[in-house]
């Protein structure tokens, strides 16, 4: 398809904009997610997919039909789907006797699978089971990870990176403080991963910063980590590489010290110190008349000396 991109010219401005939207860019678009059902998805898995779809709307595509594929064996159909719908995150749900209530979280780089992590749902409480008011879709969530397993274990680290990528939402320059309602809290404890979603209520406290009260709201999962498929280190390096243009330009000759004082540096050419302009002292100014007198005095002094010696 990349070869045809140059050969087939878009005929309308709309199609041209569409193709430009899908090109690789310096500042990328927000990642879309595709939610796919496997050949034998049961009620739990389907409901879980629907809940995550509602969390991730509008940047998600839900595939209605069942797709009989196995992500850990054959990735070509997933890559084909991602190319067609321009999605770089995917979530595949399936259920069989050996792996009940299975969810595979994964992401792509350049339309090839980068990494996939399989999580099994032990306990699941859906959005509809908890009856209270929800917040509008598309709110950027506050992501909190707890547990030292996310720091020590490599697989948990990759899972953390994947979940941040999945649930992050668009990168915005500013955020409305009153609109920070959605909180996703993920804890790694005793080999299990607890995924909880809360609604934050900002209560009055004495000072400017409000006090938080949490209300259990969204889907809650108890996951166990199953298989993983992680990419090689150099593929990770290539994927993480940022273009040079995005790096902030370093300001030269400006430094800050501990107290916050800003110091600058000026570079000058070499100065001739003899011709330096210093303060004018009127008394030391040399005048024409004074010079002759000085000479005369000197002559007298010398003659006087001569007289003495003689």
């Amino acid at each position: 398809m990349t070869q045809l991109d140059g050969v087939v010219k878009p005929k309308t401005k709309r199609s041209k904009r569409f193709l430009q939207g899908r090109e690789p860019k310096l500042n990328e678009n927000i990642k879309n997610a595709m939610l796919i059902k496997g050949g034998n998805a049961n009620q739990t898995v389907t409901q879980a997919l629907k809940d995550i779809y509602s969390l991730k709307k509008p940047n998600a595509v839900m595939y209605k039909k069942k797709n009989i594929t196995r992500p850990f064996e054959d990735q070509t159909s997933l890559e084909f789907f991602s190319k067609k719908s321009d999605c770089s995150l995917f979530l595949f749900g399936s259920h069989n006797k050996k792996r009940p209530n299975n969810l595979v979280f994964g992401r792509m780089f350049d339309f090839h699978v980068l990494d996939m992590i399989e999580l099994g749902i032990e306990k699941f409480v859906s959005l509809k089971d908890i009856k209270n008011s929800k917040f509008p879709e598309g709110t950027k969530p506050l992501l909190i990870f707890a547990g030292d397993a996310f720091e020590t274990d490599n697989e948990h680290k990759k899972l953390k990176s994947l979940l941040i990528d999945f649930f992050r939402g668009p990168t915005v320059p500013c955020v409305r403080l009153a609109g920070l309602e959605h909180v996703l809290h993920i804890t790694a404890l005793e080999g299990k991963i607890y995924f909880r979603s809360y609604k934050a209520l900002l209560k009055k406290s004495g000072c400017r910063t409000p006090r938080i009260e949490l209300e259990d709201m969204g889907p809650s999962f108890d996951f166990t980590m199953r298989r993983t498929h992680l990419a090689s280190d150099d593929l990770y390096k290539t994927a993480h590489r940022q273009p040079k243009a995005l790096k902030p330009k370093k300001k030269k000759n400006v430094s800050h010290d501990v107290f916050g004082t800003k110091y600058g540096r000026l570079h000058m050419q070499k100065q001739d110190l003899a011709k330096l302009q210093t303060r004018k002292m009127k008394g030391l100014k040399k005048r024409k008349g004074e010079k002759a007198e000085g000479e005369g005095e000197e002559a007298e002094a010398t003659t006087a000396k001569k007289a003495k010696t003689q």
Binding site: G6, P24, L114, L143, I144, G147, R168, C174, V175, C207
Partner: protein, 358 residues
């Protein structure tokens, strides 16, 4: 007494202040890692497993979440704020967590041949105005494209130049010239792309692809043969070389008002064919083709699942030999049974004609 009450009031006020401050402060052993750009916080403290088991799990998780959220909110409230349309908004810094990109870093577009030449000669791009004054229509029209100014192709009067043939159609000449220019432009665009992607394109002739069909190879040979100074007149044929047919036009349409007698003859012949009892397709050929196709299918399946299924392939092979040998009754009989499958399924090059009475 008044002094006591004042002291009391002050102490009470102090306690209330402390309580309020306590309500937003959270004690943690290890500080959390914050990334306000992503609204992300990471608590490295190992969670208290004993308490977890004692309490209701959800309650423990919720209190832990509340503490962590409080700390994150404290951090977010420290950010600089501004007022945008009656809404207080905090300015987020750049996200610090390193996450992989979706697509690789974009490569700069390869420059075209003209761009390289312009860079070499130092030719600058001159910015042109979007609209041009059209004197004929007395309005501003775009420089090129739909409804452009000074459109050559839309002229209703073209003077025949003195040097030209008086019977030549000047309008069609202009159209042809335009088509040629468009085709040349397209060719150059594709060549630029090919050069950019480092694909070798021959100067004249057909570009090689992976698998070339018989017709394509024939065409390539034909082109190569006629690319001599005397246009292939003195090029000898290889032994057994067949001249490729269907060079050029794929379909030929008769003109609307042409040879009436030929048209009449064709229509009458059509009626004769529809009346005739002889079938339009060669039954044995069709049947053999079908059997060959089935053999190939089963052979493919046999290769896919080797073992016991292999025997089936051999049997069909024997059946095929029989079919070829006896062109008469049995083949005809089996052909009759299979007839409806044959023309529908097999590759039928001849146009499908309805079978009349048999």
């Amino acid at each position: 007494m008044a002094a006591c009450s004042i002291e009391d009031v002050l102490a009470k006020a102090e306690r209330e202040e402390a309580e309020k401050l306590k309500s937003i402060s959270v004690h943690k052993e290890l500080e959390l890692e914050f990334d306000p750009g992503n609204l992300f916080a990471f608590d490295k403290n190992p969670p208290n497993t004993r308490e977890f088991r004692k309490q209701n799990k959800d309650e423990f998780l919720r209190s832990l979440a509340r503490d962590n959220t409080q700390l994150l909110i404290n951090e977010l409230w420290k950010l600089p704020t501004e007022r945008v349309e009656e809404v207080i908004v905090a300015k987020l810094p750049e996200p610090t967590t390193r996450l992989p990109r979706e697509k690789p870093v974009p490569k700069p577009r390869p420059s075209t041949k003209w761009e390289e030449f312009a860079k070499l000669k130092g030719i600058q791009k001159k910015k042109k105005t979007n609209l041009v004054w059209d004197d004929v229509h007395k309005e501003w029209k775009r420089r090129w494209g739909y409804k452009r100014a000074n459109d050559d192709t839309k002229e209703w009067l073209i003077e025949v130049p003195e040097t030209a043939d008086p019977n030549e159609d000047q309008f069609s000449k202009r159209n042809k010239a335009k088509k040629e220019r468009v085709a040349k432009n397209e060719l150059n665009r594709l060549r630029n792309i090919a050069r950019g992607q480092k694909i070798k394109v021959p100067g004249v002739g057909l570009a090689p692809t992976d698998q070339q069909s018989k017709t394509e190879l024939g065409k390539a040979i034909h082109v190569a043969k006629h690319s001599t100074a005397s246009v292939g007149k003195f090029q000898g044929n290889l032994p057994k070389e067949k001249v490729p047919k269907n060079m050029g036009k794929k379909r030929k349409f008769e003109p609307l008002i042409g040879d009436f007698s030929a048209e009449k003859r064709k229509q009458l012949d059509l009626l004769n064919i529809m009346d005739s009892k002889k079938p339009r397709i060669d039954i044995t050929k069709a049947v053999n083709k079908q059997m060959r196709e089935e053999d190939r299918q089963s052979g493919f399946q046999k290769r896919k699942s080797p073992g016991k299924k292999g025997r089936k392939g051999n049997f069909s092979g024997k059946g095929k030999a029989k079919g070829k040998g006896k062109k008469g009754g049995p083949a005809g009989g089996s052909g009759g049974g299979r007839n409806k499958g044959g023309p529908g399924g097999g590759n039928n090059r001849k146009p499908r004609m309805k079978q009349g009475k048999r």
